[in-house]
């Protein structure tokens, strides 16, 4: 419940900021859309940072780094440092000066003038909105997911299907309403102020979280050494030979199991009691929970080693397709 209370207070502060900025509104469309060009360099920097640091950066890149390793920083961060700024420099500055000169407040106004066509606006509006929607949706969906994860167990009787936390759809809806209110009432000024405040929160909490997690893992060096030991590929761009070997062994075992299951189910292969006993005795891999892995893999390895899996190429391919066990066999449970 504490986490949920903190989220609610945070959202209320954002709302307050939006409503406060509406007091500064000067009553013109230029003030609403561009804050009358009054956003200074510091607020612009913080606002741009906050605008860019959406779900893909805070949630997506973190998950991608966990999955792929240190190279993700180069993929997302340092490349953005070059390319985003290049776009601002080549397009942004020019468009800004034209906007200032001719009083444009939207992209469509610029294109209407540049192409000397009023109808271009009708064409461009749905295209521009359509391009923005997926980006916005990522943020909305991620906010719901994060609020659900953080608030797990906050309720005792409600939302059992969502681990007694705030359902993602409800979290996303609340975030949408909060953002809508501060953008609607505050305009560009309110948005910039909210983004600046959020950037400060991201930065401060980011550093604190980093320090706490590193400390809990035993410090920078210990944490890195653990990764180096267990997942060396996460420390580099290429795949470490040890990981490659592990993967190839696992894939070979999986294929053997697929061929064995196919031969058993489709071609009537049956191991005798003595063969099964021999297979179990010869198995050297991990037994798995309740010996389940040993029970399934030992006969497959035995059959492969003794030349009992005589499948054609077509049968092998069918076996691999059939063994595709990534699809859940039954409905996914929704209740706790």
């Amino acid at each position: 419940m504490t986490q949920l209370t903190i989220i609610v207070i945070y959202l209320l502060l954002l709302l307050g900021l939006g409503l406060f900025s509406s007091k500064l509104f000067r009553g013109t469309s230029k003030d609403y859309l561009l804050a009358s060009h009054s956003i200074g360099p510091i607020m612009l920097l913080m606002s741009l940072f906050g605008t860019t640091m959406t779900a893909f950066a805070l949630v997506g890149s973190t998950g991608e780094s966990f999955k792929e390793g240190a190279g993700v920083y180069g993929l997302l961060a340092s490349s953005s440092g070059i390319i985003h700024s290049l776009c601002f420099f080549i397009l942004g500055v020019k468009l800004w000066s034209l906007g200032r000169k001719y009083g444009y407040t939207t992209q469509i106004q610029y294109f209407r003038d540049r192409l000397e066509s009023d109808r271009i606006g009708i064409l461009l509006f749905p295209i521009l909105v359509g391009l923005v929607i997926p980006y916005l949706l990522i943020g909305v969906m991620a906010s719901g997911t994060v609020i659900n994860s953080i608030s797990e167990g906050a309720f005792h009787e409600h939302f059992a299907a969502y681990d007694y936390g705030v359902p993602p759809w409800l979290g996303s809806a609340v975030i949408c309403v909060v953002v809508l209110i501060y953008v609607f009432f505050g305009g560009m000024r309110g948005t910039a102020m909210a983004n600046t405040a959020q950037t400060i929160v991201f930065m401060v909490l980011g550093v604190i979280t980093f320090m706490i997690i590193s400390d809990k893992l035993g410090g920078f060096t210990t944490a890195t050494n653990k990764v180096l030991e267990k997942n060396p590929s996460k420390m580099m761009r290429e795949v470490d030979p040890a990981d490659q070997e592990r993967y190839e062994t696992a894939y070979k075992n999986w294929k053997t199991l697929a061929y064995y299951n196919f031969a058993r189910q489709e071609k009537g292969l049956t191991l005798s009691e003595s063969q099964l006993a021999e297979a179990m005795a010869a198995y050297k891999g991990p037994p798995g929970p309740a010996g389940e892995i040993k029970k399934t893999r030992a006969p497959a390895i035995y059959a492969a080693a003794n030349g009992l899996l005589t499948l054609t190429d077509e049968e092998k391919n069918r076996a691999l397709l059939k063994q595709d066990d990534r699809v859940a066999s039954g409905p996914v449970p929704t209740e706790r």
């Binding site: 920083y73 340092s78 070059i82 000066s97 420390m235 580099m236």
Partner: protein
């Protein structure tokens, strides 16, 4: 410094950054630097710093001139024409 020369300097720096960003020579290195920092991460952290310096230089040597007064008078003339 002339703006055109400044633009070339920025262009060359950006090309250099794009080449350095590939860092194929680091792809197989996994030993951490300073005992904790992956080489891939440190290299790109330096690229980020390089990028910020490049764009700072861009604002100093290649930023286009923009005359506020001319713009204001052009806008005013346009508004008068509109009314």
């Amino acid at each position: 410094m002339q703006k055109s020369k400044g633009k070339w300097i920025v262009f060359c720096l950006v090309v250099l950054l794009v080449i350095l960003h590939q860092d194929v020579w680091n792809w197989d290195k996994k030993e951490p630097v300073f005992g904790f920092m992956p080489v891939a991460l440190l290299w790109h952290a330096c690229i980020s710093i390089g990028a910020s310096l490049t764009w700072f230089i861009a604002t100093k040597v290649a930023w286009p001139d923009f005359d506020e007064e001319i713009a204001a008078s052009a806008r005013q003339a346009q508004e008068e024409q509109g009314s």
